[in-house]
Assembly symmetry: C2
Homo-oligomer: 143 residues x 2
Amino acid sequence: MRQEDLGRLVGYQLKRVQAALRAAMDDTLRAHRLTTPQYVCLELLGQRPGLSNAELARDAFVTRQSMNAMLQNLQDAGLVERPASAPHGRALPTRLTPLGASRLAAARADVLAIERRMTSALDEAQTRILLAQLDSMATALSG
Amino acid sequence: MRQEDLGRLVGYQLKRVQAALRAAMDDTLRAHRLTTPQYVCLELLGQRPGLSNAELARDAFVTRQSMNAMLQNLQDAGLVERPASAPHGRALPTRLTPLGASRLAAARADVLAIERRMTSALDEAQTRILLAQLDSMATALSG
DNA sequence: AAGCTTATGTCAGAATCCTGACATGAGACA
DNA sequence: TGTCTCATGTCAGGATTCTGACATAAGCTT
């Protein structure tokens, strides 16, 4: 097939996998009435309740403005809740509603199935090495 | 449950690396007056001259409409050229102008430096394995 | 106490990208 | 030949995200 130079760059293959993963997640999450960024937001809140908008934005790799709009939608859908006033500073700690928690649990099963399918060619040791390599790549770029 | 921590998911680390890579490329390419998608487009044309808009879109992981707008900008900037009418079918084969080729060469040096920095912790054998793993992950999701 | 720094939430505007739709050109096939 | 299917380029509209900017709140330094 096409054996062009671009395919031998890690950055290009990275983008290719990420695009395929995003498409697979969008397809699956549509049945749960969630977008991929929304799912990431719910997952973060499920594991670390009380995160502020800015913290969520950093961990989801979007801007504060984008995450704020996303939280508005999730709040209107009744999946998350925020206090009207800040208990400390300006940060508004966000939490999942019972509806949001159940929606997350249902969606997570399907997303984990995608993750398993994606890494089906890798055993546990290879996956561990891959995670370490990805971590070193991210820190090499950010740090 | 620590096992289901987001950081232990390959998909999340993938997104993290991709975000860091995109930020690094945006910063570097700004000096060349190029965006990251525009650079990818020029790189594709540099290696496979005469690609159509639809082919470029597929290989750059964007829609035809987005790529078409991108080509309009690159054409206005004098970096690429397209014939006014299609020599066969409806596809308009696009090529780099001399200015586009030189711009690409200058930008490529900086982008390859980022690629090397990103994979600085990996030797040649590890990089080869990583590329193979990423390829298997993409095909497992798409196929 | 006063000023500086940092972080957060928010508003306004623009740029980017996408979904949906339509007409055109080429090849396949009855 | 006529029709069907597929791919391409393009238009219109909307959704998402970003950049830039501002005011507020807490911690720290002087």
